[in-house]
Symmetry: C2
Subunit: 129 residues, 2 copies
Amino acid sequence: MTVLAGSPRTFSVGEVAVDSGVAPSAVRFYESHGVITAVRTAGNQRRFDGSAACRIQVAKLAQRAGLSVREIAALFADLSADPTPDEWAGVAHRLVAEVEGRVRNLKAQLAALESGTRLCEIGRADPAR
Amino acid sequence: MTVLAGSPRTFSVGEVAVDSGVAPSAVRFYESHGVITAVRTAGNQRRFDGSAACRIQVAKLAQRAGLSVREIAALFADLSADPTPDEWAGVAHRLVAEVEGRVRNLKAQLAALESGTRLCEIGRADPAR
DNA sequence: ACTTGACTTCAACATATGTTGAACCTGCAC
DNA sequence: GTGCAGGTTCAACATATGTTGAAGTCAAGT
């Protein structure tokens, strides 16, 4: 039924920062760029759901693999608040697929540059000069 | 012997830019950051060897795979001017190894985040709350 | 109710990766 | 030997990814 949510606990900027291992300023930065989302208290403070820290951890991994913050926000776009393990698995799968695609492309381009009398040989001191 | 080099032809900024597919300003940028090296004419103009355009092409690929310019300069550090195909192969191998290592790390970390009652489950509306 | 640590916004700074423009200089073709 | 396309440096701008500091506000325990 999924209707029995209760009030699943929220987290402040500082808590998300500790849970995700980044600075509070980075938490605000990620929120402003759509990697995580927040609701506001009556007093205008951000409150995050439990997925925020995890999103940030995945975001950091994705960044190290070469994705921009914009791309990561897009990757997370179809993730609900408090995502199910299935949703997380889908995101992880798409992330890995994207990165592996980039590696395949890297290898293919390198092969093209290396093989035969190819682009990298232009200007080499070869007999055919 | 390797002494018979002759004068293997050099390239201006504009030629390298065309050959590598980047802007002249980017060629100067890459030189200032050690991705490529230049000698100077009597009139202070840069002259590149034939490997410069290829270095830049490989650098662009490496950047798309997540390496910084500094890391790329380090990758190229032990590459001679006018590198042999063997040297290029070594660079390509180390580049691919580095990127594949990052992907392995990405997958391992994602698996850790996903599996069991792990980090990503903190804050989820689970019974153990 | 007060205190105090954590929150807010905003602007400035910092680093990485480039691009653009001004002002001036070179190299090569004629 | 001249013209001019293309080179030079330097500073400013631009975008991405954050951090820091000031000035003020909120929340939560006592």
